[in-house]
């Protein structure tokens, strides 16, 4: 479980995070949603230690990551898997080398053991016979799957995903969303996904945190999204005609 208390982050005079409190539960897909510029990416990068917040506490299973020693930080980093928006695969390395890299750096496995781990991870994301391909030879959806496989190859406790289905067609996006949800349940990890894709919210939003102007404006589940009267959330979620119709049908179905 990840607990965030009163998190502040500024860049110069611009205060991006203005005191966020949030809890992300283990074994669930936790979503951070909000409009562009709401502070989602800064929040996510603060959680994974790429940004240093000025104020606040981030508990990873009761350990405050902002107080970690260098050694603790090194250990904690190996408990984290991250799927970046653009996949962030090392483009000079093959798929196999990309997955093997963290194993080579942080484990004492033999090459055979590492290969076994790599192949297990690739099978888990339904990607076979791609070991020797370079990232550039893969489609966007396949690159995302490799990124997920690389994120889980070290058996992380926490999985973070930044816009995991951006740039993907709706069908592939749903496959990726479902894959992340399956992995979350199967590995019993705490997954935090940063998204503004409403399909993802409705598909896998077990816990949703809505950010607005650097503050948490609302939280709930995907079912709660239909019921809420919070204007900021409804304006964001029902900005498209399709979701307005979905909500209308949901409300009519209830009554």
């Amino acid at each position: 479980m990840i607990e965030v208390k009163n998190l502040h982050k500024s860049f110069g005079d611009v205060q991006v995070l203005k005191g966020i409190d949030a809890t992300f539960e283990k074994g669930k897909t936790n979503l951070i949603i909000g409009q562009s510029g709401a502070g989602k990416t800064v929040f996510l990068k603060s959680l994974i230690g790429l940004h240093q917040p000025e104020k606040g506490i981030i508990y990873f299973d009761r350990r405050n990551s902002l107080d970690f020693s260098k050694k603790d930080m090194q250990q904690w980093r190996q408990e984290i898997g991250m799927v970046f928006q653009g996949s962030a695969l090392f483009d000079s390395q093959t798929v196999e080398e990309n997955l093997m890299f963290p194993l080579q750096m942080f484990t004492n496995f033999s090459r055979e053991e590492m290969l076994e781990k790599v192949n297990t991870s690739l099978s888990r994301v339904n990607l076979k016979n791609s070991n020797k391909k370079l990232p550039v030879e893969l489609s966007g959806g396949m690159q995302k799957r490799v990124a997920i496989a690389r994120a889980i190859v070290m058996n992380p406790k926490y999985l973070f995903c930044d816009e995991p289905n951006s740039g993907l067609d709706p069908e592939t996006a749903i496959i990726i969303d479902n894959l992340i949800q399956e992995i979350t349940t199967e590995y019993n990890i705490t997954t935090v996904i940063n998204t503004h894709d409403m399909n993802s919210v409705m598909e896998i939003g077990e816990k949703i945190v809505f950010l607005k102007e650097g503050l948490k404006a609302w939280e709930g589940t995907k079912e709660d999204v239909f019921k809420t009267d919070n204007e900021a959330v409804t304006d964001f979620v029902y900005s498209s005609e399709l979701f307005k119709k979905v909500r209308k049908m949901y409300i009519e179905g209830k009554h």
């Binding site: 990068k45 994974i48 230690g49 790429l50 930080m73 090194q74 980093r77 190996q78 984290i80 991250m82 970046f84 928006q85 653009g86 962030a88 695969l89 090392f90 483009d91 890299f101 963290p102 080579q104 750096m105 942080f106």
Partner: protein, 246 residues
């Protein structure tokens, strides 16, 4: 950002670069790969330019030495001195600053804008140490060898040019090359090469690592890296000459 701030940030970057690597085996493999990318792949251009510039230096010297009291072997002597003192270490380093410097900036810069550097940091890897230190070691190890080879080929180029154009006699040229050999000048040249190799690896890395934006920013950073590496090489060349030779 002002220049002093850049200089400070550059030295802070070096502070993070010089750390023990996480895995020595992976580190050695990376160094070998960098030697191939930054050194071996520059061999052709260095040898090509050395050959022809050596030829031009010899021909220019021969054409301008019209006084019958000046012996022809001085052409070989002047060519050798020019190549060892200035052409091979400085001129070749400037060529390498363009070729290798732009490669380093664009490769690290692309890693930055595509979040590959963030991916390394999230894994718990000191990205500067992982990306820059192998480049420094590769260039510092390999460039003295490369530049020395450039010296030989440059002198050979002078000999070939004179022989083919009949501007001077080959034997006199060789006599000039052998005349007054001073090992100290090779030391001076090697010191320059080592410093320039370090600059060629670090200044472009700095520009690539701290790039912000997209592909245009990476392109701009590459240009800045080449310009600044060249400027610093030229300044250091003057300072080292003042310090060592005068």
């Amino acid at each position: 950002m002002n220049y002093i701030e850049h200089v400070g940030k550059y030295f802070l970057m070096l502070g993070r670069v010089f750390n023990a690597p996480v895995r020595t085996k992976v580190f050695y493999q990376t160094i070998l790969k960098e030697i191939e990318d930054l050194g071996l792949k520059s061999l052709g251009i260095v040898l090509f330019i050395s050959l022809f510039i050596g030829g031009v230096i010899a021909l220019q010297t021969a054409i301008n030495l019209e006084n019958p009291f000046i012996p022809d072997y001085l052409i070989g002597f002047a060519t050798k001195r020019s190549i060892i003192l200035e052409f091979a270490p400085t001129f070749c380093s400037i060529i390498l600053a363009g070729k290798v410097g732009s490669y380093i900036t664009s490769s690290i810069g692309t890693m930055r804008v595509t979040e590959q550097i963030d991916a390394l940091e999230v894994m718990g890897i000191n990205s500067l140490n992982h990306l820059v230190l192998p480049k420094i070691i590769a260039t510092v190890i390999f460039y003295p060898f490369l530049i020395t080879l450039g010296m030989f080929v440059g002198i050979l180029g002078g000999w070939l040019a004179g022989t083919l154009s009949s501007q001077f006699k080959a034997l006199e040229y060789i006599q000039g090359v052998q005349l007054d050999f001073m090992p100290f000048l090779l030391f001076y040249s090697t010191v320059k090469t080592l410093l320039f190799a370090f600059l060629i690896a670090t200044i472009p890395s700095y520009h690539g690592y701290y790039v912000k934006g997209g592909s245009i920013a990476v392109g701009r950073a590459s240009t800045q890296a080449v310009v600044w590496t060249t400027i610093v090489i030229v300044l250091c060349n003057y300072l080292l000459t003042q310090l060592i030779l005068t």
